[in-house]
Amino acid sequence: MVARVQLPQAAKRGEVIEIRIAIQHPMETGFRFDLMGKAVPKNVINSLRVRYNGAEVFRAELGSGIAANPYLQFYTVAEASGEFVFEWVDDAGERGSETAAVAVT
């Protein structure tokens, strides 16, 4: 899955930083029909987890009410230099992940 992640490369300890993620995914609702009249099966990214230096800082359970090519913007407190790991999974079991580093002074 194509995904893009955005967060500051550097931050001060204690600073609240903004994190954005965009994932290319149809978020198929299961309510659509193809040209042959057959229902297109539901397949949405149902869960996204963000860990910062190993600790979970954000988790989202998503449904078909989230628009295609899901976009999420949220915040976290910059504590120490390290890595953010983003992991998600869709109904078909396909997993995706991205990482981003931050330098905290």
């Binding site: 194509v2 893009r4 955005q6 994932i23 290319q24 149809p26 978020m27 295609a68």
Partner: protein, 264 residues
């Protein structure tokens, strides 16, 4: 004859030629002022297009960047192998399409040119119309011209395609019995239900349409217009669609490429 004395019939042509130019009804008219579709969009859509991270079309551009550097099937060369960095080699390319490809001898749009390159130089099968890969590559290549004015130039070879495109643009079609010109030349800026009619330019394509929940090509958008008029949609790759794309490119010359645009 003195320099200052015109031949007896000279005065006639001085008046006749400018008069003819103004009165010649078949001269194609461009809209003024030229306005990109983004100027008719809501604040939310404008914001989406302006923010390179929030713009969903950038996901296709990101994929296109990956495909650019990847080997084509059968271990074929990647685009990068010949063209190097797209930011340099593809800069300005999208502004010149559609055009008549000298080798193929026919009018091609950017999608068609990419496929010609794949077949000839990468020994790869052409990518299917509206496939994820073709949209990604086209969006990526066109994106390298973002901000540059579209300049589809007409020449002797493309004149026939252009004339056909212009005729199509002005022809009434479908159950609604309307031509493109009725909405986009005569009524741009006016409301159609809750929406404002744009001038119908293609400078933002391939674009992410909220209605499609995906990036799509200009051909797809033109087909959707046919559907809106309750007319039969020309199939992807049809000459009619290409001719219309050429006419639209000429009609919107000067507008900056916005790919990937965001539209509702």
């Amino acid at each position: 004859m003195s320099f200052f004395r015109l031949p007896r019939w000279g005065g006639f042509w001085l008046v006749a030629l400018p008069f003819a130019a103004v009165c010649h009804g078949a001269e194609p008219q461009k809209l003024a002022p030229l306005k990109s579709g983004i100027e008719f969009a809501s604040a939310d859509v404008r914001r989406l297009q302006a923010d390179d991270f929030e713009n969903p079309g950038m996901l296709w551009v990101a994929r296109g960047a990956k495909l650019w550097g990847a080997s084509a099937e059968n271990d074929g060369k990647s685009c990068a192998a010949c063209h190097g960095a797209a930011a340099k080699s593809m800069k300005g390319v999208a502004t010149r399409y559609p055009r008549v490809d000298p080798e193929a001898g026919r009018l091609v749009n950017l999608e068609g040119r990419i496929n010609l390159c794949r077949e000839k130089n990468q020994q790869a099968a052409p990518l299917a119309h509206e496939s994820g890969e073709l949209l990604a590559l086209t969006a990526y290549v066109a994106h390298q011209s973002r901000g540059m004015p579209a300049q589809a130039a007409l020449d002797a070879q493309s004149m026939k395609d252009f004339e056909r495109g212009r005729a199509l643009y002005h022809a009434r079609i479908g159950q609604m019995n309307l031509a493109c010109a009725h909405c986009h030349d005569r009524n741009w800026g006016r409301k159609l239900a809750a929406e404002t009619i744009s001038q119908g330019h293609g400078n933002a394509y391939p674009a992410y349409r909220l209605e499609w929940q995906s990036v799509g090509s200009l051909a797809r958008r033109i087909r959707a217009c046919y559907f809106g008029l309750r007319a039969e949609m020309p199939p992807f790759g049809a000459q009619d669609l290409l001719d219309l794309e050429l006419y639209l490119a000429w009609r919107g010359s000067g507008l900056p490429v916005e790919t990937p645009g965001v539209r509702r």
